[in-house]
Symmetry: D2
Subunit: 150 residues, 4 copies
């Protein structure tokens, strides 16, 4: 699917700046490893602080990285003054989230002025092998200044 | 809707014990504040370590608490030897996650031997007032020892 | 949860008029059996024309009735000039869709100017007994004349 | 993603036979246009009998075709004695469902013994051009004879 053109030529710098304002990304050690118009890859390191009862990463933590990936993929295509909000997401968990680190790759499926739809997949990486562990589809909203409601 | 009967008379103690094994619950300060057969309430305190770019709690962190609420509500109805896994969840975000703390209230909608469906809602609490901020529906799976596959 | 006030005092007549324009409702025999601000109940008769391989109503047909229920519940709260579009929905199937008829009860969880969230449940009715067979959560969009994009 | 091997060498004939048992497929004129292990394409012709209030195909009807696509993609990978049930699905609607016909292409993302996850996309086709109009992710369950519960 062809990626629609960005509405903001300075999308990369703006996306990176906004990302650094998400305190939870630093708390979880999540970083941007690739960025293009309509696409982003985030890296989440394994950390037992965020594990569930079997020692795997908690589904909500994987969703945190996937949601930021979906949101920032959409953000790259938004107008310069827009803010991004998550309307909803669904995540399917396909395998235990065990690995040295996790790559979350998102891309925009639909780029409307108000609503965008992104999809992302999380891969567990260990010893240079990767395994698909989760898939998200998300609806994002562009919020413009002075607009009220949602 | 009448809650189906628990398959394990000792469900409360088993659920609390399993909950303490989720390291991420301690990291985020999430605690059980109410527990019954097929129902649970979790409390998540506001913490800027888990905030997004506008200073609200990140959607993934709210989902972490909601997912554990859905999962443990289902767990209370599972057989004594079962483990619980999240198959998938969807979360709708209805208002900014701002407040002193968040209450996540989950209950089981369907209690099959293998699959369960739970619903949960997150309320932001400030000054004794509560506001609905998110709603999750989740599919959970009971996994029994020696069974393989998923 | 208190239902937010309607933005259109004539919501009931407008909703019923729009409903009659959905040809698929007539094809499937779906009718409105109750209507209030933010709430609606639709009735779907059992019909083997819309059955799946085990003779139950197909999941997509149940979703058709649930989606219209979610959409029209939201529509009752929209401004007089707005049109309603479904952004996304998720349906969980809890029991086989067998019964003489199905009642789909929807209500609005969030009523924003642009986006609304509704939830609906489908009950199979036979011999005056009802059984929950499916649950939907849906995001709806109010589209205003002259607005472009989505 | 490599498709996992089928558990039933006779999967194609069994899938086609089961498909013909879905009465709703005939009612809506839905047919199989391509079939392989873990993949299927269904064709849905435009029909005003199944239209919503703007004359487009109803979201639930598109979901009917997408759900059967997801279900039968999974069915191709199931054991010879298994039946398939839809546990849940989510559909995002990306553009109005207008076109001469609709192609629904599904593929399996995860193939467990009990649970499978499929994804499908619906494309509107007019004048040999196609446009993505909807995307579904679905959880399917393999049900084996003599097993009770779900």
């Amino acid at each position: 699917m062809p990626t629609p053109p960005p509405r903001n030529p300075d999308f990369a710098a703006r996306t990176r700046a906004d990302f650094t304002r998400q305190q939870v990304m630093q708390t979880m050690g999540i970083t941007i490893t690739a960025l293009a118009a309509g696409k982003i890859t985030l890296n989440l390191p394994f950390n037992t602080d965020f594990a569930q009862q079997h020692g795997f990463m908690h589904a909500g933590v994987i969703s945190t990285a996937l949601d930021s990936a979906c949101g920032y993929a959409a953000f790259t295509l938004m107008e310069p003054q827009a803010e991004v909000l998550t309307v909803e997401f669904k995540t399917s968990f396909l395998a235990p989230a065990q690995g040295d680190r996790f790559e979350c790759r998102a891309e925009v499926l639909k780029s409307g002025r108000t609503l965008m739809v992104s999809e992302a997949r999380a891969y567990a990486i260990s010893n240079n092998r990767e395994k698909l562990v989760a898939a998200m589809s998300a609806t994002l909203m562009a919020v413009y200044p002075r607009e009220t409601g949602r």
